[in-house]
Subunit: 349 residues, 2 copies
DNA sequence: TGTTAGCACTCATAGCGCTTGAGTGCTAAC
DNA sequence: GTTAGCACTCAAGCGCTATGAGTGCTAACA
């Protein structure tokens, strides 16, 4: 069967009407719309065809039609296609203020970003913490603290800073500590986790002489810092927004969704999958069953990859009902990415 | 009217039965219980009295009784009273493993603690980040990083560590940095935010000579560290548990509750109030209208103050329906507090 | 051949009346 | 003081009947 332009127009009209109302759309509703000069009967014929093609369905015999995943997919693909050409002007999000802040408070930035996106779109937002492509040790600082403890500060590329407070039995004078600090920096800087192997470790221990126990502790701290980065955190915001959409709150759905959002683990792995399967284009749309999280099969998810320069990047996902306003979400995300790029593309101030 | 022991027994029986079933409790149910050798009619007479006293109510004429806030209050007060004498043995929570971990990852500890409490009680748990009574600067470390940036590590009492990466125009050699570091530590150590006043600042700037601009930046970083600590974070866990209790999910209640939990601000101030109004005893129970958060007027909240040594303390709150198992919650919290105390009371290993 | 009017049909939803059963309060007897 | 008995109340469930939105199909029309 041919999907001519009239059928398309009807499909899109159904989708857009359903987006607003959440109710199945009947032939009469469509025929009363501006651009449609055909009678309900004609529309009905076309709708029967669209249903045959699997683009729309009736929830029950005497109801109007709602779009299927396939119908949405068609709509979204066409939309993304058109997007490439025209450049839309959206009211700018109040992200600018946010972005003028310090870079070293990445976490706060991400949380705020999630909040703004959630309240602006009325959907739920999740943001993965930054993922650092080149995870290398950049800098290591040891400082003695008065009570016999040592503060070890580990800095990775991308300016991830982690602190570890170590307790030592032996007593170190500042000069020894400085020497040790120098030795470790010398040996380890620029190396990734894999490159710090046993041979290197024993070599360092040897050179450290009597302080080899301390070196072990420090290296543990370094390893932990790397590990922490691998299990990067996930921030969510606007979870209660799902209550705006009755189709997401029937039965135990709301509970399951909220649980999924709270237990961020599953989300994390899912997002990982998204990343891998993702093509070059930065915006991806997952509709219904395409979402790789079971409790979200009634949702759609739009993801984007953000970048904070220095190869630091992560994912943003907007989670909403399948009848979400894809146009608005995609535009909003693009706008956000642009703003981020503008700020972080600047030569670092 | 006199609240004799039989009336009390009936009240408690109603409360405990209602805790389990969530359904109004009738006279027949009570009379069939072990210890009650009276007929339903007698129980009914007593129940009429209890209702007159405002301890129980009927949701509608032909229904059983449910406890009022006042009824719960009586029950809880008696329970707390008895607790003081007998020492209960609960199956220990799997907190021990957790507590054997490092102390310097307080945040992780608190999150895990919230999770364990939530899954163990089936209620929602919130934990305020540690509040440091004596907020004094303990240690300040400046390190030059290769790309012309300076890493400023600020350590407060209680081992709160914050990192700030500063960008400097001027070039500093390591020795100058060391001197500056020494100067700042000398001047600032042991001082609280209020004690770092303008006079002191200008004095430091003078001694720092040409690096006064840098000093300003560093002091800003210090101020920010203090400020961050004042808006201490709040962790929640087990929010979806509210869906277990129908009385909390009718209407928009679930949505409001989840929103409140997500927007932790209101919680924070409320918790603040709790702290202030709190007496010496560490466990407090808030029932229904006593809870100082509007969206939680249908809930009860049990709070405890935890302490991690060094005057570092915060609040834990368990949020559940008014028919929550107070006994279990209070016991669990006490057990947790004890475990924390045991670990942190040890001479710091 | 595409479009439309007309009509019979379906079915979710709402409203109505009925029954059921859990639970009560009251009274009178033990 | 306690209990048996009884009339009463009322939420909840069930079946029945509109109601109305919406459909598919057929036949007529341009």
């Amino acid at each position: 069967m041919e999907l001519d332009s009239r059928k398309k127009a009807i499909l899109y009209a159904i989708i857009e009407n359903y987006q607003e109302t959440g109710e199945p759309v009947g032939s009469r509703t469509i025929s009363k719309l501006e651009h449609f000069k055909f009678s309900p009967a004609t529309i009905r014929n076309e709708m029967a065809d669209l249903e045959e093609m699997g683009l729309i369905v009736q929830p029950h015999t005497s109801a109007g039609r709602i779009p299927t995943d396939k119908g949405y997919r068609l709509y979204v693909d066409k939309m993304l296609e058109e997007q490439k050409e025209e450049k839309k002007d959206l009211p700018a999000l109040p992200m600018a203020n946010l972005l003028s802040k310090r870079i070293d408070r990445v976490e706060e930035l991400l949380v705020k970003m999630a909040q703004i996106l959630a309240s602006n779109t009325n959907y739920t937002t999740m943001v993965t913490g930054p993922h650092y492509r080149k995870n290398k040790l950049k800098f290591l600082q040891l400082s003695g603290m008065e009570d016999g403890k040592i503060l070890a500060v580990v800095v990775l590329e991308g300016n991830i800073v982690k602190n570890n407070i170590l307790t030592v039995e032996e007593n170190l004078d500042p000069q020894e500590l400085l020497n040790l600090s120098f030795l470790l920096n010398n040996k380890l800087n620029g190396l990734s986790l894999e490159e710090i192997n046993l041979g290197l470790i024993s070599q360092i221990k040897e050179e450290a002489g009597s302080h080899s126990a301390l070196v072990t502790k420090i290296l543990d701290a370094v390893a932990e810092t790397f590990a922490q980065e691998e299990s990067y955190p996930i921030y969510t915001s606007g979870a209660p927004n799902i209550f705006r959409y009755p189709e997401l709150t029937g039965g135990d759905k709301a509970s399951e969704l909220i649980s999924t959002l709270e237990e961020k683990k599953e989300l994390g792995t899912a997002i990982g999958q998204l990343s891998e399967s993702g093509s070059q284009q930065d915006i991806q749309v997952f509709i219904g069953d395409e979402v790789p999280v079971d409790s979200m099969k009634d949702c759609s998810v739009v993801t984007a990859t953000y970048s904070l320069g220095e190869g630091v990047q992560g994912k943003i996902g907007i989670i909403g009902p399948k009848r979400m306003n894809y146009q608005k979400v995609v535009d909003t995300l693009k706008d956000t990415m642009n703003q981020l790029d503008q700020v972080f593309a600047k030569p670092e101030e």
